[in-house]
């Protein structure tokens, strides 16, 4: 079998998800051996002007230039994989959408703000068709490897649609609500093995929301601990603001 030609592209992001690949250590060589890596600006000077089999997209779409670029990539690739929160759900870049765009441009760039065009932050699938989603900020490498295997086999990958709490319970963590603080685990898609809670922090919702959250139970929890709904909404808007775009 001919090795699929794969390319990495980054849009508005921190490039940390690309770095997660390098963090696989020597194992990355086995993964890369299954593909023919033809373009990857952060670590390669080589360029490729023909078609790709797989394009891995990191980052969100935040200006006109990016819209044109992602559409061009979509035309050149068979499979498009959205990689990391910024690409799959808009991620932290979406917080920008909490503000008037001109207001936030002026705040950061002052008088020169007109030279910094920006548009409402969008996730990749809100601009072009996406075939595979690898959620997380950063991505969870075991899940990425699973997705790559699915790509190689030509089968779909379904992001878990149950709450982080499922994994968190299996990991025997004490619930953050029981410790007196709020956590987005009950609303957030699993698949990260409750990474943050295992390390004593809370879930910030970086993997996107479950499609059918248990609202009744969430309301009970909020009532039980006397938590205002605004607090939870504000937390959700850290990663998930782009969900409002139709």
């Amino acid at each position: 079998m001919k090795k699929p030609k794969i390319a990495f592209f980054d849009f508005a992001c921190c490039e940390g998800c690309q770095l997660q690949v390098a963090n696989m250590g020597e194992g990355v060589l086995d993964v890369l051996a299954a593909f023919d890596v033809v373009e990857w600006r952060e670590v390669m000077s080589e360029k490729w002007d023909k078609k790709y089999d797989v394009a891995i997209i990191e980052g969100s779409i935040t200006d006109n230039h990016a819209v044109k670029r992602i559409k061009k990539i979509r035309k050149k690739t068979d499979i498009l994989l959205a990689y990391g929160s910024c690409a799959t759900i808009g991620g932290v870049n979406g917080m920008k959408n909490n503000f008037e765009l001109d207001d936030i441009r002026k705040y950061v760039y002052g008088e020169s703000y007109k030279f910094f065009p920006t548009e409402i932050t969008k996730a990749v699938h809100q601009v072009v068709k996406v075939d595979y989603f690898v959620n997380g900020c950063p991505v969870y490498i075991p899940e990425f490897v699973t997705v790559l295997k699915a790509v190689l086999q030509g089968i779909p990958y379904y992001v878990p649609d149950y709450a982080v709490c499922v994994e968190c319970k299996l990991n025997e963590n004490v619930c953050m609500y029981a410790k007196g603080i709020t956590c987005l685990g009950p609303l957030t898609r699993a698949g990260c093995n409750s990474w943050c809670i295992n390390n004593g922090n809370i879930c910030y919702g970086c993997r996107g929301m479950v499609s059918n959250p248990n609202e009744k139970s969430a309301q009970d929890i909020l009532a039980k601990y006397n938590i205002p709904i605004e607090l939870i909404m504000n937390k959700m808007n850290m990663y998930n603001k782009c969900r409002e775009i139709v």
């Binding site: 490039e15 696989m24 670590v43 920006t118």
Partner: protein, 440 residues
């Protein structure tokens, strides 16, 4: 005969973090244009922070950069704690120092092996090295993974650390964890030695331009990375709260660009700046490597920033091992483990305040500044990143370099210009604030 007319336009410079272009134009033997353009899409972090809880600042600003996420984390925590009036415990400071050592190691190794070594070995990227220098690539990935594995134990992960937050750590390493971290780092020593051997055999381009170097300085004997005053090789020393007097943002006439300068037209930050200011405080093992590489302060060849990074790798590895050995004897006090979240349980008192964080991260000194209201929500935020401070200096370097190499071919000139920019290890993803942007 040297080149009379030359037009170089490197779009999307590769093997750097983020998007930048180099534009060079020589007409009738005279350099007319020489610019490093930053073309990364702005992300407006400082604007987005307004109205968020100070307890979310670390989580959000870590996402400015995946490569130096631990560095942003530490600068953010320092600024937030300064604003809230929190004084970290000695144990917390020591653990943070280990984290910063790991950050330096991890980032410098990535830069040395994956981004710079291909130039010195005459190939386009690390990919051809997989077959031609397999052992080198494997060693690089192995060392990188070790840093990552130690970070996993210490803070949950290296890219966007989890447990290091305002007030301390949400999870503290146990006895076994300390031993594991120690074992992993001690195990890295032979690979580090091989790395030094490899780099000492490679030849860096010869070039020099005297400039002002800026880095943290301190009065104690430790190589200052996590805290200190801000000093320069031109004799400046200021408190971190006066960071605006260091960066002196100004607008270049005929362009919309803001720049930073101190005593001269530009200054440099990063490994070479730290080396030049604090050479005496390096651990003996690191000094020995500097000697092997022929590196002495004050070194004014920016290409040797990569060599200074290697010296720092050795220093940070030994420094982290030293602290861990101490912890092996004294043990970690687990009563210091904290649960904070958004501070819903009000365990940490909040106040109206203004705090500054100044931390040496891989690419140089990083400033975070937050103003909080009485409820602990962020009113204003400002982050000044190393690459923004270096951009002006890189351009002045290019202006001196290009006329000196006009007898070379266009390809060689392009490559040397790229290598010069790359030597600074610019991190354009970090450019939250884009002080030095230029439009032609």
């Amino acid at each position: 005969m040297p080149i009379q007319n030359l037009n170089i336009n490197v779009e999307y410079l590769t093997r750097v973090e983020g998007h930048g272009n180099i534009v060079i134009n020589v007409k009738e033997g005279k350099l007319e244009t020489c610019k490093l353009e930053i073309v990364e899409s702005p992300r407006f972090f400082e604007g987005m922070l307004r109205g968020r809880s100070i307890f979310e600042a670390q989580h959000i600003t870590s996402r400015i950069c995946g490569i130096c996420a631990c560095g942003h984390t530490l600068a953010s925590i320092q600024a937030a704690e300064d604003a809230l009036g929190i004084i970290p415990t000695e144990q917390t400071i020591k653990l943070r120092k280990i984290l910063l050592d790991l950050e330096m190691l991890d980032s410098h190794l990535l830069h040395i092996y994956l981004l710079v070594a291909p130039d010195l070995l005459g190939v386009k990227s690390f990919v051809p090295l997989i077959s031609s220098h397999n052992e080198v690539v494997r060693r690089a990935l192995r060392m990188k993974k070790t840093c990552n594995d130690v970070c996993d134990i210490l803070v949950g992960r290296h890219v966007h650390p989890i447990s290091a937050i305002v007030g301390g750590f949400t999870k503290l390493p146990g006895e076994k964890d300390i031993e594991n971290m120690l074992g992993l780092l001690q195990g890295m020593r032979p690979d580090m030695e091989e790395t030094v051997n490899l780099i000492s055999k490679l030849e860096f381009p010869k070039f020099g331009r005297d400039t002002e170097y800026v880095a943290l300085v301190s009065d104690d004997g430790e190589y200052p990375l996590l805290s200190g005053d801000v000093g320069s090789t031109d004799g400046i020393r200021l408190n971190k709260n006066d960071y605006r007097k260091i960066t002196n943002e100004f607008i270049v006439p005929h362009s919309t660009a803001k720049r930073t300068k101190l005593s001269r037209e530009s200054y440099a930050v990063g490994a070479l700046a730290r080396f030049n200011l604090n050479y005496e405080k390096l651990l003996p093992e690191a000094k020995r490597v500097a000697e092997m590489l022929g590196l002495k302060p004050k070194c004014i060849n920016p290409f040797l920033n990569t060599a200074a990074q290697l010296v720092e790798c050795v220093h940070c590895l030994e420094h982290a091992i030293g602290i861990l050995e101490e912890f092996k004897k004294t043990k970690i006090n687990h009563d210091e483990q904290i649960v904070v979240g958004l501070n819903e349980n009000s365990k940490i008192p909040v106040r109206e305040g203004n705090g500054v964080g100044a931390v040496e991260v891989p690419r140089g000194i990083l400033f975070h500044n937050y103003q909080t209201d009485e409820k602990g929500y962020i009113r204003n935020a400002n982050c000044i990143i190393p690459t923004n401070q270096n951009t002006g200096n890189i351009e002045y370097d290019l202006m001196k370099l290009i006329p000196e190499i006009l007898d070379k071919s266009k390809e060689e000139i392009t490559l040397l210009s790229e290598m010069l920019v790359r030597a600074y290890d610019p991190c354009i993803s970090c450019s939250t604030h884009l002080l030095n942007i230029k439009f032609i």
